[in-house]
Symmetry: C2
Subunit: 138 residues, 2 copies
Amino acid sequence: MNCPIQLTSHIIGDKWILLILRELFLGNTKFDEFERNLAISKSVLTTKLKLLVEFKLIIKTDYKEEKKRTRSKYQLSKIGSELLFIMGAVMEWGNTNLVNKEETYLKIIDKSDTPVKLVFANQDNDILALDDLSFELS
Amino acid sequence: MNCPIQLTSHIIGDKWILLILRELFLGNTKFDEFERNLAISKSVLTTKLKLLVEFKLIIKTDYKEEKKRTRSKYQLSKIGSELLFIMGAVMEWGNTNLVNKEETYLKIIDKSDTPVKLVFANQDNDILALDDLSFELS
DNA sequence: CTGTATCCTCTTGGATACTG
DNA sequence: CAGTATCCAAGAGGATACAG
């Protein structure tokens, strides 16, 4: 099958992967940060991080600060960063339909601290209505 | 946790759910269409469809054509249709990074049959660059 | 056609202990 | 700190048979 959804589902069709990606987009980079923030077991975290490296969504780097031991950090690759559209869409849907707006929640903002939204556009950057869209196999 | 990604991951963090949603967006509605197109076992398909109904993403309707037995169909609800942004983002990423463009593949088009893209915009509908965006918890 | 029920296997994931 | 190794329990998913 040459279906983009089928192929991509092998990566993001996984709760842990989505949550690790959230951490990466939030700027976290270290094994123990993921472990603490996600309450995930070491073994699963190891497995998922390896998967993300295999898929080339993240890059693992060893680094060493003066007088300290060597440590590892994980960062989004180029194509990993492009998952921002998926994460943004997931956040928007979750915020609209599942999140309790009385409490704090996560959103995407621009440089003037204003919340942004996702829209469909054509090549001329005209914004399109949902009713005008359809799936096509070609 | 009041995190939109965490909450939504319980729904779309699942390969089968993503593929069933693809079928629904393609306009398929019947149990055996899903079964054939996805090569999924009956028991799993039953379970996932129930889940989608529980989450109110789809609506199950029984209908009866003249001289025929009663049948069931499944259709996206209002909030289910809003998953189009997630599906669109998944398709775009998959098409860019995983799909073989020599073969046929799936995309979203507008009324003039032109492929569309997803963009981030502010409230004034100005399109934003990725570098201008950041996650915020508030 | 649209399921349900049963069985059986393989995988996922948590807990714990250990290592450089 | 960043894992690896081992073990165990629970769940996911396929196959098959059956039912309205």
